[in-house]
């Protein structure tokens, strides 16, 4: 029973791991929108600085995605026992990487807005 319970709990870790790139996109999206909304609710001369903050956060997220894509196989190896890895590991690693590629473009597009538009 204990082993079965562990297998089932591992599912949640694997799910979070596979979706990490999109969760990062969600966090980035929530952060940049929240920041922009907050800064523009009562605009001040300092509101312009949010561009820099958005640029830095976007770059950090993009770098994290690159490392995540590169290390996807090792990450999966860390959270799944060897007995599970023969079956679906290749599939799950592909899912991680391909989702990371999509998240990379989505974060880049959102972050690139700062080059074209005023904050408020």
């Amino acid at each position: 029973m204990k082993q079965i319970n562990q297998t089932n709990r591992r599912f949640f870790r694997v799910t979070v791991c596979c979706l990490a790139a999109l969760l990062l996109w969600s966090t980035h999206f929530g952060f940049v929108y929240g920041l922009s909304h907050f800064a523009c609710a009562a605009p001040t001369p300092e509101s312009d600085n949010i561009r820099w903050l958005i640029a830095i956060v976007s770059l950090v997220c993009l770098m994290a995605l690159v490392i995540y894509t590169w290390q996807a196989e090792n990450i999966m190896r860390l959270i799944r026992p060897a007995s599970d890895q023969a079956g679906t590991n290749g599939f799950l690693v592909d899912v991680m990487r391909l989702l990371a590629v999509l998240a990379f473009f989505a974060i880049s597009w959102a972050g690139a807005s700062i080059f074209f538009l005023a904050p408020c």
């Binding site: 029973m1 079965i4 909304h37 989505a106 074209f116 538009l117 408020c120």
Partner: protein, 850 residues
């Protein structure tokens, strides 16, 4: 023998099966007939009922649309009054979105998933049955309001301030708010069933990389419902509370903001488009390989496209609010997400085209194929206009015009209605003794396809000429008449197409099993031979298209050579497998037919209806009856280890009872916690949003914050409750024995949790804070309501578990009910403590900024 070492040729149960086994399965899974039919819970019965009801609502909403199109056919027409027209477009949109589209795809999930997964049924059959009855009753009441001038008039998105009591007096808007709130409960019930069913009742060997694409689509669909629907549940609660009690969430004069509704509504509303589209896309991904006679090209790409679409769709909600004055940089983030979501949608379209392309002239132009091709054309046009309206400058021009009406119908009809008709023609032979007619189907397709384009393509131009949506009529000199007349003619062609489909149904559809189990020569498991018990045995799966790769599989399954060919516990069962690799873990014992879920659905609907017309005492009596029916329903669900472990084949002996994170009930509770968490996140968003809109109201509210000792007492009470339930679980006695400290600790846990909520509410009340004073006060009390709802549930569950203790149905082994109560109490405690920190800490922390 180990299940993992099985190959296609090593059968789990080789050799002939004993006499009478099949008959026993038929007896156990028999569908009640006559006046007992409503008690049925078999997925085929519930699924057909569900889809029949959804199709009926589609026809009814279509008739309303025809009347509207007739009204608009010529300028200055007076066929219907302006007031009735307002009710019509509200009922049309609401019915199509809430009573047709989402229920139809949930119905297909209930009907098709167990067959595709070769499971005997989904894990919570009564929950599906409850969902369908709740939906039919609630939907019928809502739709009928148009017959007696009680229908809402605010459009399917019911924007305040127009829907506040000052501008929408009477109960019309309340019918929408409470009716839709009720139907959302039904949708979430269905989503829980689909999530747990897809993850845990797959056949042995069907690891995630072999899951049919429709299964993936339904997983994403159900996950999206869990995250998206809570936002609109909260929104409808806030608006109904403001209408009923005057708490000013949306009234600007008291610090509220009508735009909060738009944020919450569209956080649900845009993903809703994909909630509808993704399952339909999953169906298309199942039909195309069959009609093309070749496996789907790019399975992995389609899986990631489905997941990515599900995520990105949550970044699009302001896409509907481009014209509300939001700063341009914020708009750009949503514009970027709107374009990002086109990428995974494009991946799916190209995969379908590639599959057709590699079929090398094997492609069969049957009716399902025609509808799929029609869908491709229509959806691509809708997708392209979607990219256009994702551009903020263009959207500002097209906003609220008929261009948007054209766009949304191209997306929704192309993305959902055409695949649904393909589904009707493709899967009808699975549940009908005869297939639907190819000849009538072709008539139906061409009328619908040409009619749709004649009706909706001209609307792009009507919109660009400046015709706003939702106008009752228009002057002749604006030049919109000819285009509107063409659109109306197209609408009638669509209606003729649907009429032919209904004739086809009446002529050919007869519930039962046809002579040919696999008329399309498809590769997936729903085409295995079956009966009321689904398949005779549960197959061991080794590929994505098992019927193509294992030609002898159908005969083996029918001969009972695979897993669980019998009913070892003498009741309804299926195999529960691990979520990723689909390794057998235990045999689930499922409940059979019952009146309880029907009574629960009827009285829940009655409760909501009576609340709408402000009959509070009868509504409370109905609520008590519904809760009592639910308790009777779940009393026998926690059956205990009973006759396990049982032999399912391949030398595997599985338990029939598990606890902890293996149990399907535990998974359902985790999903319920996710729903509650999503509602609370939406609440926190609303709290912070209203603070940014009206910081001065928060500043005034800060002066009325109670002393720190009050929230500390409330938090301490919650912690005591959590500790009490923790020790209650540890105090459980061995089977056959009782430990009096267990019910005492459970009771204390419930009492302290309830006291914690009361203390928090009283702390604000004694300070003189009234919820109708300001948006700040309303948000403070709203946190109490959200926690109070959960604590009320915990109190009921605690009393239930105590009753089970005294009935001898609770012990150290048989403790699923207590485990679930513990989980919910831990979650509620954590949520409440976060709320206390926000409500009592945030005004202090942000004091200097305000």
């Amino acid at each position: 023998m180990n299940e993992n070492s099985l190959t296609a040729r090593q059968l789990p149960n080789p050799g002939p099966r004993p006499d009478g086994e099949r008959e026993e399965l038929q007896r156990i899974w028999k569908t009640p007939t006559g006046w007992r039919l409503p008690t049925a819970v078999n997925n085929t019965v519930v699924g057909l009922l569900y889809i029949g009801a959804a199709f009926t609502f589609f026809v009814l909403a279509g008739i309303v649309a025809l009347i509207m199109r007739t009204q608009l056919a010529i300028p200055e027409n007076t066929l219907v009054s302006q007031d009735l027209y307002n009710q019509m477009f509200t009922v049309h949109g609401t019915t199509m979105m809430f009573l047709f589209a989402v229920p139809a795809v949930e119905a297909l999930g209930v009907l098709l998933l167990p067959q595709m997964l070769a499971a005997r049924d989904l894990p919570f059959p009564r929950l599906s049955a409850f969902a369908v009855w709740a939906y039919i009753i609630g939907g019928t009441v809502f739709f009928s309001t148009i017959l007696y001038d009680l229908a809402p008039k605010g459009g399917w998105f019911m924007y305040p301030p127009m829907t506040l009591p000052e501008f929408s007096p009477g109960v019309n808007a309340d019918f929408w708010l409470l009716g839709i709130g009720f139907i959302e409960i039904s949708a979430i019930a269905g989503a829980i069933e689909i999530l747990v069913g897809t993850l845990r009742t797959r056949p042995p060997g069907m690891s995630l990389d072999k899951l049919p694409i429709f299964g993936w689509a339904m997983l994403i669909f159900a996950g999206m419902i869990v995250i998206a629907f809570p936002a609109v549940i909260l929104a409808t609660m806030l608006l109904e509370i403001e209408r009923a009690f005057g708490w000013p969430f949306f009234t600007a004069a008291a610090g509220g903001d009508p735009l909060l509704w738009q944020h919450l509504f569209w956080f649900f509303g845009h993903p809703e488009v994909y909630i509808i589209f993704l399952p339909a896309a999953g169906l298309v991904s199942m039909i195309i390989p069959t009609v093309a006679g070749t496996p789907l090209v790019g399975y992995r790409l389609i899986v990631i496209a489905l997941i990515a679409t599900g995520f990105f769709s949550f970044g699009l909600w302001v896409h509907h609010m481009f014209a509300t004055g939001i700063p341009s940089l914020s708009l750009a983030f949503f514009s970027a997400a709107s374009m990002a979501v086109a990428v995974p949608s494009g991946i799916q379209v190209f995969s379908w085209i590639a599959t057709i392309a590699v079929s090398k002239k094997k492609f069969r132009l049957t009716v399902p194929a025609l509808f799929v091709l029609g869908m491709l054309v229509i959806f691509i046009i809708g997708g392209l206009t979607g990219v256009m309206v994702a551009m903020v400058p263009f959207d500002l021009q097209a906003h609220d015009s008929y261009f948007i009406v054209a766009h949304l119908h191209y997306v929704l009809v192309g993305g959902m209605v055409f695949p649904l008709f393909a589904t009707f023609y493709y899967w009808a032979p699975m549940v009908s003794r005869t297939a639907l007619s190819e000849r009538l189907g072709k008539w139906c397709f061409w009328l619908m396809f040409s009619g749709f384009n004649i009706a909706f393509f001209p609307m792009h131009f009507t919109g660009l000429l400046g015709m706003p949506r939702r106008v009752w009529t228009y002057p002749a000199d604006l030049g919109w008449g000819p285009l509107n007349l063409i659109s109306t003619l197209g609408a009638y062609l669509i209606a003729f197409g649907v009429l032919i489909f209904i004739v086809d149904l009446l002529r050919n559809f007869r519930v039962g099993k046809g002579q040919n189990d696999n008329p399309w020569q498809a590769g997936t498991l729903e085409w295995l031979p079956g009966d009321v018990y689904s398949t005779r045995s549960i197959p061991h799966v080794t590929s994505r298209e098992p019927l193509w790769d294992q030609p002898e599989l159908a005969a083996e399954v029918e001969a009972g050579n695979h897993y669980l060919p019998n009913a070892p516990t003498g009741s309804r069962e299926t195999i529960v497998t691990s979520a990723i690799e689909a390794r057998p873990q235990y045999v689930i014992q499922m409940p059979g037919p019952s009146w309880t879920h029907v009574i629960a659905a009827i009285f829940t609907a009655a409760c909501f209806l009576l609340l709408t017309i402000k009959l509070v005492i009868p509504a409370l009596l109905c609520a008590v009856t519904a809760i009592a029916a639910c308790l009777v329903w779940v009393w026998e669900l926690d059956k205990g280890p009973g006759e396990g472990p049982v032999d399912i084949g391949a030398g595997l002996k599985l338990p029939v009872y598990v606890t902890g994170s293996s149990g399907h009930g535990w998974w359902a509770m985790v999903i319920i916690m996710l729903v509650a968490g999503s509602i609370y996140l939406a609440y926190l968003f609303s709290y912070l949003y209203l603070w940014t809109v009206s910081p001065e109201v928060w500043q005034a509210g800060k002066a009325l914050l109670p002393a720190l000792s009050w929230p500390l007492v409330s938090a301490m009470f919650f912690m005591v409750a959590m500790l009490a339930i923790y020790f209650a679980k540890r105090s459980l006695a061995q089977p056959g024995q009782k430990n009096l400290s267990t019910p005492v600790l459970i009771f204390l846990a419930a009492v302290f949790a309830a006291a914690a909520v009361v203390v928090e509410i009283m702390s604000h009340w004694q300070q003189g804070l009234q919820p109708s004073q300001s948006s700040y006060a309303a948000m403070v009390y709203m946190a109490g309501i959200l926690n109070g709802e959960l604590v009320f549930t915990i109190v009921i569950m605690a009393l239930f578990v105590i009753a089970r203790h005294f009935a001898g149905k609770l012990d150290r082994i048989r403790c699923q009910t207590l485990e679930n109560t513990c989980l919910l109490l831990y979650y509620t405690g954590a949520q409440a403590i976060v709320g206390l920190i926000v409500i009592h800490g945030f005004p202090h922390v942000m004091g200097s900024a305000m």
